[in-house]
Symmetry: C2
Subunit: 241 residues, 2 copies
DNA sequence: ATTGTTTCGTTGTAAAAACAACCGACTTGT
DNA sequence: ACAAGTCGGTTGTTTTTACAACGAAACAAT
């Protein structure tokens, strides 16, 4: 089987047998990612072996990365959804981030000095991950890959962007009260989705974990804000007033 | 004057007049930065114009970057010290980070999609900043700069590393209580400095801002922890027991 | 239809943090 | 030497949060 093949033989190349149509599916996905933005499908196909691309599949609930593991690959989520989360010594779970299709993850641990991965990455849906050898990406190969330079630029901008997102989340968490955290997050999300009415990708427990507050206290605060006329909501649909 | 020259004529090249010894001083500094790690002084000198390097000087207390400004340069601190900080609508100041000599900063806002700078950057000492055009760095020039590839790798690893540091700080801030935040920060710092006895680069107010807690409450908690025998401290010298 | 599960709101209580105000020890500048 | 400013600790009060426990609604499985 295709999936099992790649799962158990990590170093196997992306394109190997007569799995052209399946490969084509992932090339189509890659084409839409930031990493390969501006690179045609043909060029992606020709770069896959150059970059040592590999596939791995994960069932819902499975660990994609565990705290303490080390990582030497750039990873892109091709199907499904992941949560990057962290459990401290007494079970407090914080969702550091949510990974959607096309996102990279784990790229913070690729520098030679950086040690082991600090978070768990877990599949919240059945998921497929594509891995690339980091050294092959950032080492410019002389001639073969014309569009290697474009991928390097994309990678740089993606890292820069992720950096900004982390800074943004630091902005939420540096607020002292639950209300301030909610206002910071929700108004940012409204701005991002360009509408005072928007959907968040979390249920209550997940949002509380994301903002590192107690769920019931957050629920209380949300309802208080609703009663004060600051906002309206139903499930994960919010509207700022 | 040298400094005034560069301050008022931003686009002026790094090497221009008979300022060889002053330039040499900054080349020596750059050689020790992560960005130019593994690149010789001669090679740095030859790359400076290629990368459109510029100098700017700031007095203690001056703003290096303001919230809302945009940025198209990679910035390296050559002398002095900066604080990256954020004031919210009601004056709560959070020190997002401290920038030391050799560090890059502001690299989160370089992606075309990323908007304005979200934080203030302020000089806490008289400081000198070196700026490089980001597009010139990540666009591989065909022949001129042999060591351009090394700089690209360094830049990538630096961004990755900074990413990890942000994730780490998120780890501190996602703790719910002041005590937990202190323990997380201090034990991490002890690990980093490889000793249970270590110095932190903050005074109390700055540490409180860094961890986004109230100074007096933090002071109270520190003393309580000291009385419980968890740690000892004097000024910014700490020892975990 | 009923049982179990998940999600979300609610309540009361205990713990923790913010806030404000103040004090003493040290620096710094004149 | 002295005034002004900085820094860190302390205290008391108010506000906020965590925590635990419960209940209703929605949904899925048997």
């Amino acid at each position: 089987m295709f999936g099992v093949n790649f799962f158990h033989a990590e170093r196997q190349a992306f394109i190997n047998e007569s799995n052209g149509d399946r490969v084509q599916k992932y090339i189509t996905i890659l084409k839409r990612t930031k990493l390969f933005s501006g690179v045609s499908e043909e060029e992606i196909a020709s770069m896959l072996s150059c970059l040592d691309a590999r596939l791995r599949h994960f069932q819902k609930g499975e660990y994609v990365l565990r705290q303490g593991e080390s990582l030497a690959d750039i990873t892109v989520l091709a199907e499904g959804a992941l949560h990057i989360q962290r459990d401290d010594y007494w079970g407090n779970r914080a969702i550091v981030n949510r990974v959607s299709v096309g996102d990279m993850f784990g790229e913070a641990y690729l520098a030679p000095e950086s040690g082991a991965v600090l978070n768990d990455v877990i599949a919240v849906e059945n998921s497929t991950v594509i891995l690339f050898d980091v050294r092959r990406i950032i080492t410019v190969c002389s001639s073969a890959c014309r569009f290697h330079a474009a991928v390097i630029q994309n990678l740089f901008y993606a890292l820069s962007e992720k950096n900004r997102i982390l800074v943004q989340k630091l902005g939420y968490l540096s607020k002292r009260t639950t209300r301030e955290k909610l206002i910071a997050y929700l108004s940012e999300e409204a701005k991002r989705q360009n509408s005072p009415s928007f959907t968040i990708p979390f249920n209550r427990q997940q949002l509380a974990d994301f903002l590192s507050v107690d769920r019931s206290a957050m629920s209380k605060e949300l309802c208080k804000m609703r009663d004060e006329g600051l906002l309206a909501f139903e499930k994960n649909q919010f509207r700022l007033l």
